[in-house]
Amino acid sequence: MTNLDNRSLLAAAANGDQRSWEVLVDRYTNLVWAVARSFRLGPIDAADVSQATWLRLVEHLDDIREPDQLGSWLVTTARREALAVLRRAARAGTPTGEPWLLERPDPAAESPDEWAVRADDAATVRRAFLRLPVNCQRLLHVLLVEPAPTYAEVGAALGMPVGSIGPTRARCLSSLRRLLTAQGAHDG
């Protein structure tokens, strides 16, 4: 069932098939979450944006016109909800942003495999990442989602033309490498 296409899963979910719905959720939950978090929403706001996005899909199960583009539909919805949260918070004068990557448990410690990153390297990379321009942080954050989003989905998530994603990614990684080099020289 996990191989079924979006069209079949949407149709089954519209008929109340819970299992099909869960396959859709599992396919896109990380992406929807990453979009919300890429706006630096805290965990509660990000959870609300995520849930509002899925509830909106439940409302529109019957009228998703391009099932192949469901990922783009979801990230566009999440993006709109996230921006609305930021706007309301700005108006009310309540802070939403938080140092989104700093207080997290060290994920490097959770992946004891051949790719495991040494803890001090992880801290170094994270520090360099946070010094990147915000647009770079957001782009890389969304590109890192598993399963990997399509460029159409990334473009929809960030409101940027698909053609500029590849070059921007390369530029952001170069900046990151420069920051790492500079940090290395400084730390050394």
Binding site: V25, A47, V58, V125, T181
Partner: protein
Amino acid sequence: MVDPPLADSTAEHLSEVLRRTVAERSPEHVREAARAALSWRDPDAALATLVADSADPDQQLESAVRGGGPPRLLAYATADVSIDVEVTEGPTGATTLVGHLAPVGSAHIAVDHRDGVAAATADELGRFRVDGVRRGPVRLRCTLAGADTPVHTEWTLL
């Protein structure tokens, strides 16, 4: 001190390191809530879409300029029914919804929110007030007296 290979690594290697250090997965409770969302589906209800929202930048109302958290005004409509709602923030994250239905008439109102359901009754003039609505995704389910089909508003993030 950074390993030289980290600063000199290829884009692919750097991406993989980022994936191990920066990428996030959606928390389990978020995934579970999303999985449970299908149970909210009711294809028989009429969907009242959000037609006006004072928090929308395209609909800047005079009150928005004043700042200091003016009540948010929401308007929903189907072809037959309109529902206007004023959202007042309480001190503890709970909100109060004060609203009005048209055409006027009594109705049962249920508000779905993160922590459950808050219920109220609209009087014969279509007025209602619902307390204890948690911030987060919210929708109203309105069963109008004498009507066959319930009216559900779109889910809206308060």
